[in-house]
């Protein structure tokens, strides 16, 4: 049973990585691409971590996985902010229809 649940989490995580890559390729400007990238970073990795943590041998391993995810969360949020701010200051404007 838990096998099915964690496999589902892994597949959902892979799907989010896929959507993030599609967004990175298809979206029109840096700001929109940042949005796509943070989906892969936060949700994709998060789902994979949850899937693996469910199967992990000990609580310590599960905690370590969650800590790695938290670090990536923190990093990708600050990185997205930094890049968007630098782009704005360089005079790039968000794409508008």
């Amino acid at each position: 049973m838990i096998d099915i649940v964690s496999s589902t989490f892994l597949l959902a995580g892979a799907a989010f990585f896929f959507f993030g890559t599609v967004g990175l390729l298809r979206f029109p400007d840096v700001f929109a691409r940042l949005h796509a990238l943070t989906k892969a970073d936060n949700v994709g990795l998060g789902l994979i971590v949850i899937g693996l943590a469910l199967e992990s041998a000990s609580p310590a391993v599960a905690a370590k996985l969650l800590l790695i995810w938290l670090l990536v969360l923190l990093a990708s949020a600050s990185v997205a902010h930094l890049i968007a701010r630098a782009a704005l200051r360089r005079g790039m404007r968000p794409w508008q229809q």
């Binding site: 096998d3 964690s6 496999s7 892994l10 597949l11 995580g13 892979a14 990585f17 896929f18 993030g20 890559t21 990175l24 390729l25 840096v30 691409r33 940042l34 990238l37 892969a40 970073d41 994709g44 990795l45 994979i48 971590v49 693996l52 199967e55 992990s56 391993v61 370590k64 996985l65 790695i68 670090l71 990536v72 990093a75 990708s76 600050s78 990185v79 930094l82 890049i83 701010r85 630098a86 782009a87 704005l88 200051r89 360089r90 790039m92």
Partner: protein, 88 residues
């Protein structure tokens, strides 16, 4: 669960190959940096998957280092090679 690790790993790697198109096109350096961030996150995911598959505890530490380094890369990029306004 065992049977799904390798397919997911391969799928993530193929994903990265497709993403390389963005590095080719650009147009700005920031777009290419976004791809390198995707590489970092995918590397973390692949290493965690393989740590489980192979049962190698140390691969999780490698994943931790990758997460840290990709964040530092982006900060160095913004501060050094793609500085924004004058009031930094």
């Amino acid at each position: 669960m065992d049977s799904i690790i390798w397919p997911v790993t391969l799928f993530l790697l193929i994903n990265l190959l497709a993403g390389l198109w963005r590095a080719l096109r650009g147009p700005t350096a920031a777009d290419r940096l976004l791809l390198s961030q995707l590489f970092g996150t995918t590397a973390v995911a692949v290493l965690l998957l393989q740590a489980w598959q192979v049962g190698l505890e140390s691969l999780r530490d490698v994943a931790l280092v990758f997460a840290l380094l990709s964040a530092i890369t982006a900060v160095a990029f913004v501060r050094r090679t793609w500085p924004g306004g004058a009031d930094d």
